[in-house]
Symmetry: C2
Subunit: 422 residues, 2 copies
Amino acid sequence: MTPQPERAQLIRGVAEAARRAARAVATASAATRRAAIAGIAAAIAAARADILAANARDRAAGEAAGLAPAMLDRLALDDGRIDALARAVREIAAQPELLGRVDRREERPNGLVVERVRIPLGVIAMIYEARPNVTIDAAALCLSSGNACILRGGREALESNRALIRAVETALAAAGLPREAVQLVAIPDREAIAELVALDDLIDLCIPRGGEGLIRFVAEHARVPVIKHYKGVCHVYVHASAELDAALRIAANAKTSRPGVCNAMETLLVDRAIAADLLPRLAAALPGVELRGCPETQRLVGGDRIRAASEDDWYAEYLALVLAVRVVGGLDEAIAHIQRYGSSHTESIVATDAAIAERFVREVDSSTVMINASTRFADGGELGLGAEIGISTTRLHAYGPMGAEGLTTTKFVVRGSGQIRT
Amino acid sequence: MTPQPERAQLIRGVAEAARRAARAVATASAATRRAAIAGIAAAIAAARADILAANARDRAAGEAAGLAPAMLDRLALDDGRIDALARAVREIAAQPELLGRVDRREERPNGLVVERVRIPLGVIAMIYEARPNVTIDAAALCLSSGNACILRGGREALESNRALIRAVETALAAAGLPREAVQLVAIPDREAIAELVALDDLIDLCIPRGGEGLIRFVAEHARVPVIKHYKGVCHVYVHASAELDAALRIAANAKTSRPGVCNAMETLLVDRAIAADLLPRLAAALPGVELRGCPETQRLVGGDRIRAASEDDWYAEYLALVLAVRVVGGLDEAIAHIQRYGSSHTESIVATDAAIAERFVREVDSSTVMINASTRFADGGELGLGAEIGISTTRLHAYGPMGAEGLTTTKFVVRGSGQIRT
């Protein structure tokens, strides 16, 4: 472990350099920032062999250290993932320019012209685990929104992140931007995170991504604003008016298409009126999924196919092929369940009754509410934001998936001709 | 002082009641919320005698306790201020409805229709001193944005706030909204604030308003998000191209029209090219204002009219008839001074050179930047937001004056026809 005073000094130095670089990025032209982002895509492709070799070293070390298979999967890069990474970066470079955009304009009765003009937040600290693609996504999104960033990836991805950051530095240099615009903090101990997120004079926003433990650690120690979600306990509610085929298709997609991610379904709520029809078919349609049900669900599914759900199951984010199932007596009971056990992430209703569906999206106050669609669409890319920097389940600044625009704010620009206040 | 466990229980109870009431306010119709707000204006007018009597008791106690004159002034209510209060509330009731507003709508290639729909934040905690009008402004703004609020006013205004909150409760009852939608926390000790702003499971946002000491106390103890500004060190920069008459008029208005507020000018920066013309006229135009200048300013103003500014003067928020003055060598020096000593509140340039003025508003990253206008316009009402709930000098969620819309956020509403993610 790095000695404390030396480490604190090093981290403050990184943040001070980021603050200076942020000014350079904010005042650089859109063309310069776009050139840097496009350069990242090119540099990743050029450094493919280096990146794959570094990633292989991380994976070997991870396997030796006994990392969980899900963690090793998130850590892994291959040709396909590197192609996807470069493609995402090129898409970010192609997004419309945000900085300087006038969101509102009003002439006041006294002749003052008041505008709200979009500007960067400043310095963004990303704290994340395993997935090396966050390094590149965050670098590209911060540059496109005019911010500098400090990236503190997990130690398990250190070699991969170092190889990726070299590609970023190449692109920054070619575009004439300071290399401190995107810095990787390679200090492995967790106390380094605590020191970083306390620097509220230098850092404007911290976005932690990873397990609930990491996110709670950041929230505990942060003096800078934090945008986060602890977990995604996403619900699908099948109303009595639902088309059962659609309900089964959506449930299967929401649970099984990628069970380890935050927008996967964890609890299915089913109206009593259709439970006897739907639940046996559900059990058959989700063969590899362990079911945990309320007594009524247990009775309708029957036998060894299902076990009893405990109170804890209603709060659980399994991130695995496990599903909690509960029979409810209609919309109000479904909403009450979601209010009590949900995580404000994503909930979907399956229904043909439009009035019921509209009540659901109006009264459920989660960050994403859906009608007749899989919860797996709760993703910045799928919802039209371009790449995603994170998902927020708290309401300040951003609620739900957050893209490049979430990394900006507006200032007031007031143009007058000598007005004074009387 | 209330014993700690009892007080903590009481405060948690207040916040839990606010959370329940928030749901009632959020789901109430626009007509109901508007009726409650209009009812507040009527109830204030009806209770005028009670409110003035309560305020007289507060002022007598404040005088006996030796409160500063500025504090006593902020505390005071009279017929004119009560009229203004009721008028502000009626203006809030007349603002366009925010909740349910669709800010964006996009149909995705797969047919999903994605909307961003405006919703309330939830429970707002206001922590403030002296000014009893905050009680009414906050109640009306929170109702108009669909939020519940917890109001912790200062002990010096307790009787006034109690009289005002009775008017609010009358209006809530008449509109059929729960009285817990607007609660006054009458516990005087500061530890109660610390306990309140730690309740991040129940409170969505805290807005402290008052002296820097109070705001730092809240920021230290908060676990909920805080929107704040510590101080307003506002600058006026007079460029060489300025009309000197306009510069003098703006400087006089920015400094003297209400020196005790955060948008008053604290430092004047003057280009060297016009300093010899402007500064003697400035000294004559601001007869009651104490000047503290850089050596060049001292020489140009001369004599006993000015004293030397220390380094501390450039950071000072005087909130009094004192002005720091510095001669600079052009736009870049002015911007560098503001970057170093400013508080991100409000800065204004006086110039006829449009290219220079535009560079100033582009490169100065304060929350409000102005051309040829008094800094005193940095106010939610003056900039077209309607009444103001606070001013933010940090960039997350709101930057600059914040009105009712700042008390809302958006959720994603996604309407499909059975889409699943492939």
